[in-house]
Homo-oligomer: 221 residues x 2
């Protein structure tokens, strides 16, 4: 049975969190809502409805939700041809594949957005599958996306890693019984990630690649 | 002699750091340079030349510097009509003015950009002056901008506060012998700000306003 490395995408393999922040900010602004960008940054990684609920509250005018989501999608879509991969993303996935890890993406992105992200990562040949938020009823920080990724990878939780950059990733991993590995390149502070359950923290995919055979990553501590 | 509250602007009074990040990223990209947005975020607050030097290194092709700066300026300029103030910025400056603090801005912004920022803050009636990076030979983290702001405020360092959101702000304050107060709304982690010399840390201007008469802020600890 293969080990599995499950990967979040935004902020983990692609350098897209800040693009989400500014486009969500503009989408909120056009709907008459002033939301601080720091707060949006902390909410990135949630599905659209959960992100809006977190930032505007449960008492908001929910009739605006679809308009705000559509505006964000439109503005973010202007970047699809130039979404940047993070340093070392492709090499990290190839190195894990070489070592027998099965690689599955677990992301709230879907459709054309996911296609654009996969083109940016440029490692489709070693990606065994994608657990999209569309496939489960609850997104991160619920464990459902991680459970679904484990099914695709045909891997028990104790043989898997979940690599992400947000507290939602680390919480979802913990709840699914999967070891969480956090990357700092998404801009979330180390302390927040450790508090959310990260068992190891690296700067970015290139840094994780450098430590791929270390004890922290193999869990042999 | 008045006490003085010296303020950084970007990320401290205006919610502009993420806009700088994405526009610097695009400016670098168009010059053929791939720079991670997390790294740009950590460099915001430096003057343009220092920011480029930090991100591309001393061995870079310096002939590109002007082109990259101009591209950033052009892209960032598209936001001038809608630069957002941070929550409580105007009220904080008014409350400090009411309590007899002389308010001076110390920023690397100048010209039209500074005008747009001042319109966003909407508190010109209580701003005694601006120490622009153009007025000194070395920008933050050098103490020069803080020294210049103290001169404008006619205030000795021990009677002043410097409020900012970056490690550069806290380092410049420390080197000038001024107590540094850090805000988290610019997206820099608390630990980094404390390590750089912050004597108090608040979430944003509104949070600092709530604690305006507390012991931490008055220095009577």
């Amino acid at each position: 049975m293969a080990r599995a490395a499950l990967f979040d995408v935004d902020g983990t393999l692609t350098d897209t969190n800040h693009l989400h922040v500014t486009t969500w900010w503009e989408a909120f602004r056009q709907a008459g809502q002033q939301v601080a960008m720091h707060d949006i940054h902390r909410a990135v990684g949630l599905g659209s409805t959960d992100l809006i609920a977190r930032l505007l509250g449960e008492d908001r005018d929910r009739d605006q939700d679809d308009r705000i989501s559509a505006a964000h999608k439109t503005l973010y879509g202007t970047y699809f041809e130039r979404l940047p991969a993070l340093n070392g993303a492709r090499d990290l996935l190839h190195a894990l594949d070489d070592r027998g890890w099965r690689i599955v993406l677990a992301t709230s992105a879907g459709g054309e957005e996911l296609g654009a992200l996969r083109r940016a990562i440029d490692a489709d040949d070693v990606i065994a599958g994608v657990a999209s938020a569309d496939d489960v009823s609850s997104g991160k920080p619920a464990p459902d996306p991680v459970h679904h990724a484990l099914e695709i990878a045909e891997c028990p939780p104790e043989e898997a890693l979940f690599v992400g950059d947000t507290v939602w990733d680390m919480q979802a991993a913990s709840r699914a019984g999967v070891r969480g590995v956090a990357l700092l390149c998404g801009g979330i502070p180390r302390g927040d990630l450790e508090e959310a359950g990260a068992s190891a923290v690296f700067a970015d995919p290139a840094d994780m690649l450098e430590h791929l055979d270390g004890e922290v990553l193999t869990g042999k501590q």
